[in-house]
């Protein structure tokens, strides 16, 4: 049986349908990404799995334990890291770790091998108050505290939000190591570039799952050709493209415009000529490989 099973889970708050009956499964030892924009329902889902929130309908189980009925068991086998830093800011690094080890009936030494790498980076600051750590260090401490009781499943809610690029890389490297220890990891993130670091991802928007697949699989399912257009005047070109009947979707990705067309006869050259004729002379058009973000935009467009 898969360690995480979510079956038709639904939850609504007063006016918002946060989750509209979603289902998916996470396999043993998988690093599973939950990718979606803010307000997609990621936090609601993770809080239900962490047994902090009761679902309206549907079922979910972690290693065979129902998240509603067997919450006592759940709390022993799950490591949870909320999106907001929730360790004691007025306790030191060392004291936080000791406290969480203590309440889980464990000690730092017992599972030291799990947190060794992370703790090594924290060691110079172990006498410092947690509130006085940098953002990246806080995330590392929070991860250590979530790991201190050697959980079978790790639930991470937007662990890299508000963390600098270097720390984000380090953090994902750590997740890779934990996966190697056999821990099943469910991580949510609004950053599409992190999707490719997961084994499988679920694209989630407005409380619904758009697609569950490997990052490669999701990209392979992208239905059209994708063109990338670079131009010094990207904003007016974007507006122009959207008025063209052959253009299906056009989005700005950094400096580049990603375009899909509904006409399969179009080539790079014909698109370039079309634009030159409209006065956008110094633009370059190339056929590009879609990214997860392109897939997401396309799926989100279909969903609306």
């Amino acid at each position: 049986m898969n360690p995480i099973i979510v079956n038709k889970l639904a939850k609504s708050y007063e006016k918002v349908n946060a989750l509209k009956g979603i289902s998916f499964e996470v396999e043993d030892g998988e690093l599973f990404g939950l990718i979606g924009p803010d307000g997609a329902g990621k936090t609601t889902l993770i809080r239900i799995l962490a047994s902090l929130l009761l679902p309206d309908t549907g079922k979910a189980s972690l290693v065979g334990n129902d998240v509603v009925k067997d919450f006592h068991e759940i709390r022993k086998i799950v490591g949870y890291m909320p999106s907001r830093f929730s360790l004691y800011t007025d306790l030191t690094v060392q004291e936080n770790l000791e406290f969480f080890a203590g309440v889980f009936g464990s000690t730092i030494e017992e599972n030291y091998y799990l947190i060794k790498d992370i703790y090594h980076m924290l060691e110079p600051f172990k006498g410092r108050l947690a509130g006085k750590l940098s953002g990246g260090m806080k995330q590392k401490l929070a991860l250590s505290c979530a790991l201190i009781h050697k959980p079978k499943i790790l639930l991470l809610d937007e662990p890299t939000t508000g963390v600098d690029a270097v720390s984000r890389k380090e953090f994902w490297a750590m997740l890779g190591k934990l996966k190697a220890e056999g821990i099943t990891i469910l991580v949510s993130t609004p950053y599409m570039d992190e999707a490719s670091l997961c084994d499988r991802i679920a694209l989630i928007d407005k409380g619904e799952i758009l697609s569950v697949n490997t990052p490669k699989g999701i990209i392979a399912l992208f239905p059209q050709k994708l063109y990338g257009i670079s131009t010094p005047n990207s904003f007016s070109l974007l507006n122009h493209l959207r008025t063209l009947p052959i253009c299906k979707d056009a989005f700005l990705f950094g400096q580049e415009i990603h375009v899909t067309t509904s006409n399969s006869n179009i080539t790079c050259e014909s698109l370039h000529d079309l634009l030159s004729n409209s006065g956008f002379t110094n633009s370059t058009v190339t056929l590009i490989e879609p990214t997860v973000e392109d897939c997401f935009m396309q799926l989100m467009g279909n969903n609306r």
Binding site: S86, Y88, T89, D90
Partner: protein, 371 residues
């Protein structure tokens, strides 16, 4: 059990790392006792009196001199007009106006009961009745002496009941003996209840409760772990407050301290449990502060710290059965001043124990780890 110890250890670390905590624990009782026990007194001194003397006779001047001689009264000069004197009352320069009518001396000479009028400023009801009582007792004594003088000394006066008063338990009627124990009750409650209530809700505000809630800590373990540190601090506070009271005000400690502290221990479970319940239903420190403050004021004013609870209306006395401060106020005074033993305070002890158990189970029940 180990989990509880870890929570207690964590709480103490946080409490003593908080820089405002030590001043609260040590300065608060000293300042409160010094200010309140000295300032909040019912003894009236320096009552300002203005006399409008329309009679202007030998006897009327004699009456005035009696007031002048009394330590309670200070005579504020006024013009010969009730209106002018009332203006003084209005501008708060005098508390009491005595009007001696024309013909006061003549009435006494003709053995007609003499009349004076007392106009009392009753903004402060308690002060007004005391001012009235003091001045009428001076007038009574005065007329009695006149009567005796007038009716030849040798003639037997009709027998009157004379009263010999002896004040038990507080022979000198020292106000501080009454007030200091009362203030200690408030102090211990504030420290215990507010600190616990604010502590739990702070974990909610900071989000740290999220991380606690996913641990296998049981509800009762968490509540007890939160309660014990503040219970210890509040008990220490009581001991410290008693010491300050003994050193500064020489309050009597006639009863058994063991009995007092056992009662306080149960009382604190009730007060702290109330604080925890309050914070488990609130979502911010602001909410907790306002609600706690509301209950505190009601409980304190009804507890009998200033006024006798027996003279309160019936509904108030019924309400007081669930007022924790009422019991503690009664017990601390009985034990310290009167030297009461267990059988004297048994009823209060039982009531507070029942309330404490109810409150604590309610607090544990109400605290939910899942929303």
């Amino acid at each position: 059990m180990r989990a509880i110890l870890f929570i207690i250890q964590k709480e103490f670390l946080q409490i003593f790392r908080n820089k405002t905590m030590l001043p609260i624990i040590f300065l608060l009782p000293i300042i409160q006792l010094l200010i309140l026990a000295n300032a909040a007194t019912f003894e009236m001194k320096n009552i300002n009196i203005s006399v409008v003397d329309y009679d202007n006779s030998r006897i009327s001047r004699e009456v005035i001199s009696h007031f002048d001689a009394s330590t309670f009264f200070t005579i504020i000069p006024t013009e010969q007009s009730v209106e002018k004197a009332l203006e003084l009352v209005h501008s708060n320069r005098t508390d009491l106006v005595m009007v001696i009518p024309n013909g006061f001396e003549k009435d006494i000479d003709n053995s007609i009961a003499p009349k004076v009028q007392l106009l009392v400023n009753s903004i402060n009801g308690m002060g007004a009745s005391l001012a009235y009582a003091y001045s009428s007792s001076i007038l009574m004594n005065f007329t009695k002496n006149i009567a005796i003088k007038k009716l030849n000394v040798n003639i037997q006066t009709p027998p009157t009941i004379s009263t010999q008063t002896s004040y038990w338990y507080n022979p000198e009627l020292k106000y501080s003996h009454f007030m200091v124990p009362g203030i200690l009750v408030i102090l211990v409650t504030i420290i215990g209840m507010f600190l616990t209530a604010l502590n739990l809700v702070r974990e909610k505000e900071l989000g740290t409760i999220e991380q606690i809630n996913v641990t296998p800590i049981k509800r009762y373990q968490f509540i007890i772990g939160k309660l014990v540190p503040f219970w210890i601090i509040a008990m220490f506070e009581l001991a410290f407050g008693l010491l300050v009271g003994k050193l500064l005000f020489d309050i009597p400690i006639n009863g058994s301290l063991t009995l007092l502290f056992s009662f306080a221990g149960v009382f604190l479970v009730l007060a702290l449990g109330g604080g925890l319940l309050l914070s488990s239903i609130s979502s911010s420190q602001q909410q907790v502060m306002f609600v706690a403050f509301f209950f505190m004021i009601v409980f304190v004013l009804m507890s009998g710290i200033f006024t006798s609870t027996e003279s309160m209306p019936n509904w108030a006395q019924i309400f007081n059965r669930i007022n924790p401060l009422y019991y503690f106020m009664k017990v601390i005074r009985m034990v310290l001043v009167k030297g009461a033993n267990l059988s004297d305070i048994r009823e209060s002890f039982i009531s507070v124990s029942i309330l404490a158990v109810t409150m604590l189970s309610f607090a544990i029940f109400r605290y939910k780890k899942t929303s």
